[in-house]
Symmetry: C2
């Protein structure tokens, strides 16, 4: 594709080029915002369908809460307001008048949802409350980047209330695992689940869990978070219930979210010099059939084969690109930059042998497939591509992951090689801050299933009982 | 259901009670806004699934444009800004600072979408552009009412661009008909499609078409609108393209929307003194099975029948309400207020005769159905209910529609009987305004398929060639 920056030359420039040229998104006239174009939105819709199904299968229902939150509500949980106030867009006028109270455009909906839960929850019989919302949210961004950091983004935010602390912790981990499965099985991106450090947790949470993925340049991306809110919000908003024993207690809460940022992850993990590579399970089109003919006679021979191919691909999201105003080369590079997993070419010679030439977007591998086996072979190939994309991403992460025990090594690896660094950390915020300051590497998470291993903090030498993951992050 | 206002005593009070008690929605802490609760959102989701499918089947794709629109964009089309500015919520601060330019929270998205179309559309090859967006929008409401008029509401807004005026008009009417079909076949509400008068059209449109439904109190509700925008916006935003012949022309545009207001229509048209009545095709639950037992022996007899019933209802959205903490009377009235189309009762006597007692929500009719025929019978009944709900609404509208030729009669009918009044109108804005002023009745539309009939304007006596529909409206 003309004008596409090479991935190895300038990863950041390549990323933006791919998004614009694949028509995933475009810059909006509103500062820091983007327009999600139909092709990008088609991908997001496929993600929503699957994640929404998984959220409902775990017992949640969708609802909708207001976009604008009275400033006073927002201020009821002190850590929360401190964390989010500087990022908020503020409505001061409405209906032609100055408002008596400012309204914040939601950066997240804990406060307004908690105000409703206080009204709805009276008894243990009302628990658990398991609600999810698909919504747009606003966080002012000083250095916006398409999908990864936009002032407005789309997401789902789950908000649950429970009778016990243990139930809330179970829910937090259950939804983290839903995110892990979604990232791995649908986005074909291996992720590491685990808690964040105190300094990186959600403002107002007791504990924040994350899934961290490695992008194609070795940097980390936080791809979804699940928070155990404890009783911080229920105390601030007075959400209490009568227990079975007749006592009044505050509920235990969780919240969890995954956003359009993950669309950026698909580009960053799977893309190459030709553009996007879509994981088949989420691809807006899983295959594109391109008929090839030069004259009417060839057209008459090819068309029936295209029809047959198209029919045999029932259940596969397939597009026939028979536009006459574009040449073959143009079409090939358009579908390459858009990352369609399989290109199915049918020309006069193929028609004569009753076959199609099928080209994999991820590997470039070509094979001729008889038309009467096309449907089965394509379905099998799509499964193979999905699996191999995951395996390649996992192998790359493995390759870009290093165990480091000395601070000098950590500094050198961080500066020269990047990737994930598994190192010991004593647990102190001071060491975490020093390392961040000196290496730009942050602690991405304490892996959930990490080995217990005695060691010494890479910064201060104090004892540690397991490694954490350092990386530069988006 | 306790505390539910009688529909015949106080229609407005009944409407609000039904929404709150059926848990469709609740008042939000943000003035004029509501929270759509899971049961109401389940209904909306079913509406979205169907309408989204119909929008896609007519060739449109979804996309997403930003919520906040720079004030200067908003001011580019003069009628548009005049119509919407007084209703806007305005963001003046963001990221802790006063903004250089105010941002309007979208009341509708023509302006920001047009700014993108100006960039994307260059040639006749880029046309038509057929994009739809599902979004939240804001219009300041002085007298908010749940679903019908809320400051924030959810909707879809289609925005298309075409090479010719005729194509734009075709699109406008095509989408109006999609709305008609959706209202009639899914919501079970008969509607009258037709153009609005000049004074009632969308600010910036050439022509606005509407579908008008009659609510249970005889008032009209505008349930969806489709606008032919002509070249008003393309000239204001400079959206031009090179024609096949190499000339540059402005595109012809349309926009069309249907919103959560239609949830209110379902309540207003089908509800009764017991609460909601859900049209089966949109009902979150189409049937609820209520097992009845008093002791363990009865429980053991009933449970296997409940399992069999539940299995036979595959493909039906069915809930088994086996909650032990609620009594039968409580459950019956809860599912009645929520309007579940069919209640399936199975008690020990039913178990002994291998049957279930099935009760229609719309008519109250009860019948015993053998378990081995339950699935088929329930599916048939759901179809019958859907059809009969439409027929009852159509019969009611017929009954509440009057042809009137004298102004005194119109005034009397408007004051004493309400409903739709078919009367002649000369086409002048002055007569329209006088009638509105004196009778509170507005012209809902000029029915698309109205008979040509010579007559005299009910207000001024000037000649008219067909009747229009007057009614009091929500």
């Amino acid at each position: 594709m003309k004008g596409l920056t090479k991935r190895s030359d300038d990863f950041a420039g390549w990323y933006t080029d791919v998004i614009l040229k694949a028509e995933l998104a475009d810059y909006a006239p509103t500062r820091g915002c983007m327009v999600i174009r139909p092709y990008g939105f088609g991908l997001w819709e496929n993600m929503v369908v699957q994640l929404d199904r998984m959220i409902k299968e775990t017992g949640h229902q969708n609802a909708y809460f207001p976009l604008l939150v009275p400033e006073s509500f927002f201020q009821q949980e002190s850590e929360h307001v401190e964390g989010f106030s500087p990022e908020c867009a503020v409505v001061t006028h409405g209906g032609g008048k100055k408002l008596e109270e400012n309204l914040m455009v939601r950066p997240t909906s804990e406060t307004v949802i908690c105000s409703m839960y206080a009204k709805w929850i009276q008894s243990y019989r009302d628990l658990p409350v398991l609600i999810n919302q698909w919504a747009n949210v606003f966080r002012w961004e000083l250095r916006p980047r398409l999908f990864l950091r936009t002032t407005e983004f789309l997401w789902q935010e789950g908000h649950t209330a429970h009778a016990t602390e243990a139930e809330a912790e179970d829910e937090t981990l259950k939804m983290l695992d839903v995110y892990r499965v979604f990232a791995e099985e649908y986005m074909a991106i291996p992720v590491i689940p685990g808690p964040k450090t105190e300094s990186e947790k959600f403002p107002g949470a007791l504990r924040t869990y994350t899934i961290e993925g490695m992008m194609g340049d070795g940097k980390a991306l936080q791809m979804g978070t699940s928070h155990n809110l404890g009783q911080n919000f229920s105390k601030a908003f007075n959400i209490n219930f009568q227990t079975r024993e007749g006592l009044r207690e505050f509920v235990w809460q969780t919240s969890w979210g995954m956003s359009t940022r993950t669309v950026g992850a698909i580009v960053l993990v799977h893309g190459d010099d030709k553009g996007l590579v879509m994981p088949p399970r989420l691809a807006p089109y899983q295959s594109v059939i391109i008929p090839i003919w030069k004259d009417e006679a060839e057209r008459a021979a090819v068309l029936p084969c295209v029809d047959q191919a198209s029919k045999s691909l029932q259940g596969v999201r397939c597009k026939v690109d028979d536009r006459e105003q574009y040449g073959l080369g143009w079409k090939f590079s358009e579908w390459e930059v858009k990352g369609v997993p399989l290109r199915v070419e049918i020309g006069p010679k193929d028609a004569a042998s009753r076959q199609a030439v099928v080209v994999r977007r991820d590997t470039g591998a070509k094979q001729a497939i008889p038309l009467d086996r096309l449907g089965d072979e394509v379905r099998t190939l799509l499964g193979t591509i999905q699996r191999e994309m995951f395996e390649r991403a996992a192998a790359f992460r493995e390759q870009q992951t290093r165990r480091v025990d000395e601070y000098e090594t950590l500094k050198r690896v961080a500066a020269e090689e990047g990737g994930f660094i598994h190192a010991h950390w004593c647990g102190s915020a001071a060491c975490e801050a020093t390392i961040k300051e000196e290496t730009k590497n942050t602690i991405r998470c304490l892996p959930l299933h990490r080995e217990r291993e005695s060691g010494r903090c890479v910064s201060c030498g104090a004892p540690s009982d397991g490694r954490v993951i350092f990386a530069q992050a988006y």
